[in-house]
């Protein structure tokens, strides 16, 4: 639909630019002492994932790793509620209980970000079983980093997806690093696609600086997955900044960083759009400014939002129909006051 009007590439640029702007403000939130903790993993440099999220449809679901802000925005998240969650506020997507690493939205098909490397991967296999059994035609996508390629559970999941022909995509966002370890120091043979193929998946690779290539590749893989042919997509990019907000990446050289940051998917998309006449310089400026304004507002609203009331900590452990766990003070009070 978007493709017919040919505004899709512009829309994708807009989303990528919003992600960039959002992540920069997450960093600011931290510097202002307003984030819940310091475990903030920015997806700057990996915005071309929008090529995948844009190829997904209504009702499709996904899980992400700890660096999943961009994916979630790509699937339509409200940046203000995201920022509030990252700040541990009551208005956040998870009522201030999950934070950056555990953001989710049932309504938007986000089955959960995960702070366990590889932890969310098998969930899409289960979602695939649901879609197969109910015949819904949906697909479920697991987003994870190159580090998760060394977690065994990935291969268990791949085998099951292939064996049962499930509508599932495994999407590896390969940013060359797992914390301070460059991929060649973690992997015996750099051939992730081969691994996936050996497990019976359809494998593809896309250049993470080229959102349109990502989109085309994802679209075809997702279509096949809906037909019962699960796929694996590796997107190569470069992690622009440290592992988490505080990490200054002393384990890599400034030259490597400078070189890596030239692989900027946002800038490249912008240039391409202008070149191809899909947007003027002024159009792009407008998009950029609007994105920045939107994210400034999200940041400010998160800062001023309220933290959750203390006793909400006992909610959401079990279904609300069952009693919540008793606060410790209640137990001690009962012991103390019942003693004759």
């Amino acid at each position: 639909m978007n493709a017919q009007k040919n505004t899709a590439p512009l829309d994708r640029y807009r989303t990528m630019r919003r992600i960039r702007s959002f992540e920069e403000r997450v960093g600011e939130l931290f510097l202002r002492g307003e984030s819940a903790g310091s475990m903030l993993h920015l997806s700057i440099g990996e915005e071309a994932v929008v090529g995948v999220t844009d190829a997904m449809g209504d009702g499709d679901t996904f899980t992400t790793h700890h660096r999943g802000h961009g994916v979630f925005l790509g699937r339509g998240a409200d940046p203000a509620r995201m920022m509030a969650e990252i700040g541990g506020k009551a208005d956040g997507y998870c009522r201030g209980k999950g934070g950056s690493m555990h953001i989710a939205s049932h309504a938007l098909g986000h089955l959960g970000a995960n702070a366990i490397v590889g932890g969310g991967i098998p969930h899409v296999v289960g979602a695939g079983l649901t879609y197969r059994n109910k015949g819904t035609g949906h697909v479920s996508v697991a987003f994870f980093g190159d580090g998760a390629m060394q977690q065994g559970i990935l291969y268990e999941a791949m085998n099951m997806a292939a064996l049962w022909r499930l509508p599932v995509i495994f999407c590896c966002l390969n940013n060359q690093y797992g914390m301070g370890t460059r991929i060649d120091r973690a992997v015996g043979k750099l051939a992730f696609g081969e691994r996936a193929e050996a497990f019976g998946l359809q494998a593809a690779h896309a250049d993470g600086t080229d959102v349109e290539e990502v989109h085309d590749t994802a679209q075809s893989l997702i279509a096949d997955a809906r037909g019962g042919k699960p796929g694996f997509l590796e997107i190569s990019s470069f992690r622009f900044y440290g592992h988490a907000r505080m990490d200054k990446s002393p384990y890599r050289t400034p030259e490597e960083e400078e070189e890596g940051r030239k692989r900027d998917p946002v800038l490249k998309a912008r240039e391409r759009l202008i070149e191809s006449g899909l947007g003027s310089d002024a159009d792009m400026e407008r998009i950029d400014t609007k994105a920045d304004d939107e994210m400034d507002a999200a940041l400010e609203s998160a800062v001023t939002a309220s933290p959750p009331p203390l006793d909400t900590m006992f909610e959401d452990v079990f279904h609300p129909d069952s009693p919540a766990p008793a606060p410790q003070r209640d137990r001690l009070r009962a012991i103390l006051t019942e003693t004759p």
Binding site: A107, P122, G126, A127, W164, I335
Partner: protein, 333 residues
Amino acid sequence: MTAQQTTYREAIRQALLDAMAEDDDVILIGEEVGVYGGAYGVTKGLIDIYGADRVIDSPISEAGIVGAAVGAAMTGLKPVVELMYVDFIGLVMDQLANQAAKSRYMFGGQIEVPMVLRTQGGTGRSAAAQHSQSLEAWMMHTPGLRLCMPATVNDGYHLLRDALRQRDPVCFIEHKGLYTMKGNLDTARADADWGQPAIRRTGGDITIVTYSRMVHEALKAADAMAEQGVEATVIDLRCLNPLDMAPILASVRDTGRAMVVTEAALTGSVASEIAARIGESCFDWLEEPVLRIGGEDIPIPVSPKLEAGSIPDAGLIAETGLWMMRRDTLAWA
């Protein structure tokens, strides 16, 4: 049919049959649950009735299977995943404790994981250190995870039906030594409400709190003690977590003596938790210390003689109980 004589295995199977008949979203997944019918035969024939899409034979990928069940539960199915032995739980603790148990909480109540992990544990088959454990304490120490362990035929049915009605993850642990045990199944009447312990025997002298197979050892011990004039109440925890302690505390306040029995290695066991709770809440009513009886703090040896010797039995329970009444002196003290 409401009441009938059947086995523990059959009662559990019946619960699966009935739940699957009522609700198309209930699926089974696990190693050998389909064609083979389950390592202990609990799922026999279900694949013929409900087909391979609902009774799913899985590869030997425990972590992956439990993870798949989590995802299926999140998206609208009601999976029952069978872990062949609770001893394999170490392979899935991340998916169980960090994913299934915490999802509702971490995501602020948006996403629920209504799944049941069925497994079995315990000694009695000389299956050695990696196939004989009782590891429920790990699950009990996991907020957000429900835990139940049926001791009777009727509970085999009702606890599983109840577990399948929860919108939370439930760990359901059977005992390999009970599958062939016969008893009465009344599908219309549970032994107690979900979350409540069951009082299996009433006596005014001492309260024995236990669960799973040890319920039967405790009942045997209570009979032996009765011959010496000591009457024991035997309480079966059934739902270990969350658990309503009120009936247990009431009984101990009445008898003034409590013993907690587990088949698991004693240190860090469920027995320690229950003993600590009783100690806290019954202090002024206690005539004797709350004693714990459990498995020895060792891996389970394969030799049948050593295996049996490492686990509590009716003899040890009765002996200890009688001592607590000071009706007898401890043979081995």
